[in-house]
Symmetry: C2
């Protein structure tokens, strides 16, 4: 092979500049950068035709398994760390003085807009599971700069049951089991009963499972409790809260573990309703510190249906 | 927003290094580079959650429309120039002295392994089209270094009819209409009757059409004749041969035009069977000059069925 064999340096700019005059500037920037990076990748590894065709068939397989309640491309993005990265780009907050709020992480595909409001002190456990360890979870919301308590924030919590399944994955759970919205009181306090979380595997019967297998990686997620906190004056905080003794903390299949979200569950002996206690203090940042104060959290168009609606859609799909 | 807000420089290496010890080295190189470039893209454009989710839904839509005879991801790759780039990486030949063979371009999704052998001087037109302009196409295969004629090469030609459709897209064409294989004679000569080619549009009813529209680009391909030339001693040549007066040469939707493949069709007056004449000389390189002499041309697993088999599969799909 000759040293003369260099690739045409004008090809990638030619492809990018083929975009016509009607393309909005932001679209041109995004697609131009995407094409450049895909071409650079192909040249960097000298991608062969057979390898390229393997990738083509893999991408075709992603859409084939997706349904209105299964978003396989969302899951593939999680497996390659892209959702975590997009979250960091959108939501990372740090002041000039280096002050930071409680870390934000990805929403994941199991949030529901339909969780009911419950009173402070209530339990989110509608369908008790014999393996569930009931936890009294509590904390105070504070302004990250002044330490002042934050009243009237909405805390939206959701978690899988002790079998590792969320309500809309499991026919034995009622809608909104292990989901609930609470409001912080005038002291910034919140408290409720939930379960110690349970680790679970991503679904491995589709392309995400193939990719994890090819990468010799575990499909497991460490146990976690999801919590989204919203307030008119403060930047939204999306958390996943991990027990410090979970064996999967270092191998999270979706790269959503952050150190300040790893917590200790302690034995509780003074409460007949709970065997564990979790103290979870939260620091929030005023919206002015957010890189884009008006940005909405990422919401997938999939897997966000209420249980009954999801089942209806599945049944409709099966009929088609 | 603070200048402190830089993205975690350790995140991308952390994701790449999550690959386990059983990953083959080539797989590790490819996936590592792909993840790095996807992350670099997201940081470079500061991809928002909403933009990311738009991309997620776009990728899901690619597989949804693909079938055993429609490979939409292959087409998307063509539209972003990736198949052309992979072809250049795999097949570009240039000697230390700067000698090059006739340019190679992409195979495209319409080649069939089933084209019949025909005798030199035969026509590939099985189903005449009233708009077709019959062309006497001929040329000599020569070694690019010595100029010696190449005997016994197989020339596999395929083209769309005057309506812009290939045999297996068009119920009015018989199988292998406008396809054929020929062998060069002892003088390196080849000659046959075919049509002056007709420009056509990529299918625009799927994600490739959406992407072309977003990029404000034409879905048209310039008119072309496909030709694949194979020989035991010479590197395979895959051509698309373009009339020099085609108005789409500068806007080819799949970026497969190369200057030495643009040719002049001349009026022919001495042959009652043809109104046009095309002289197409070809220079071939010994296999030793090819970057990977044993590499096979890219063959998709889709859209390569014989017409009858393709229809059977389509019918089976519809039943499922």
């Amino acid at each position: 092979m000759s040293a003369n064999r260099q690739f045409d340096p004008d090809f990638t700019p030619y492809v990018i500049n083929a975009m016509g005059p009607k393309v909005p500037e932001r679209t041109r920037v995004i697609l131009g950068s995407l094409i450049k990076h895909i071409h650079d990748f192909a040249r960097e590894v000298e991608l062969t035709p057979a390898e390229w065709m393997l990738g083509v068939e893999f991408i075709n397989s992603i859409g084939k398994i997706s349904t209105p309640i299964r978003n396989e491309c969302h899951r593939i993005c999680d497996v390659i760390g892209l959702e975590s990265l997009v979250d960091e780009i959108a939501n990372k907050i740090v002041t000039d003085e280096g002050v930071t709020p409680t870390s934000n992480v990805i929403l994941g595909p199991f949030w529901s807009p339909n969780a009911p409001f419950r009173a402070l002190g209530d339990s989110i456990i509608q369908d008790p599971n014999p393996d569930g360890k009931v936890t009294f979870m509590h904390g105070v919301l504070r302004d990250m700069e002044t330490g002042a308590p934050i009243e009237g924030a909405v805390l939206d919590i959701w978690q899988a049951s002790a079998n590792g399944q969320y309500d809309f994955q499991d026919p034995n759970q009622s809608e909104n089991n292990l989901r609930g919205k609470f409001r912080s009181n005038e002291k910034g306090e919140f408290y409720w009963y939930c379960y110690h979380p349970t680790p679970y595997s991503l679904p491995t019967d589709g392309p995400a499972g193939v990719l994890l297998n090819v990468m010799d990686r575990s499909p497991m997620r460490p146990a976690h409790i999801h919590l989204m906190i919203t307030h008119p004056d403060y930047a939204t905080v999306i958390n996943q809260i991990y027990p410090s003794d979970d064996p999967h903390l270092g191998i999270d299949s979706v790269f959503a573990v952050k150190n300040d979200l790893v917590v200790d569950f302690k034995p509780k002996t003074d409460d007949p309703k709970a065997s564990l206690d979790l103290d979870y203090p939260v620091k929030m940042a005023l919206k002015k510190h957010h890189p884009n104060p008006n940005s909405a959290p990422p919401v997938s168009s999939f897997e966000r249906f209420s249980k009954s609606k999801g089942q209806q859609q599945q049944q409709q799909q099966q009929k088609l």
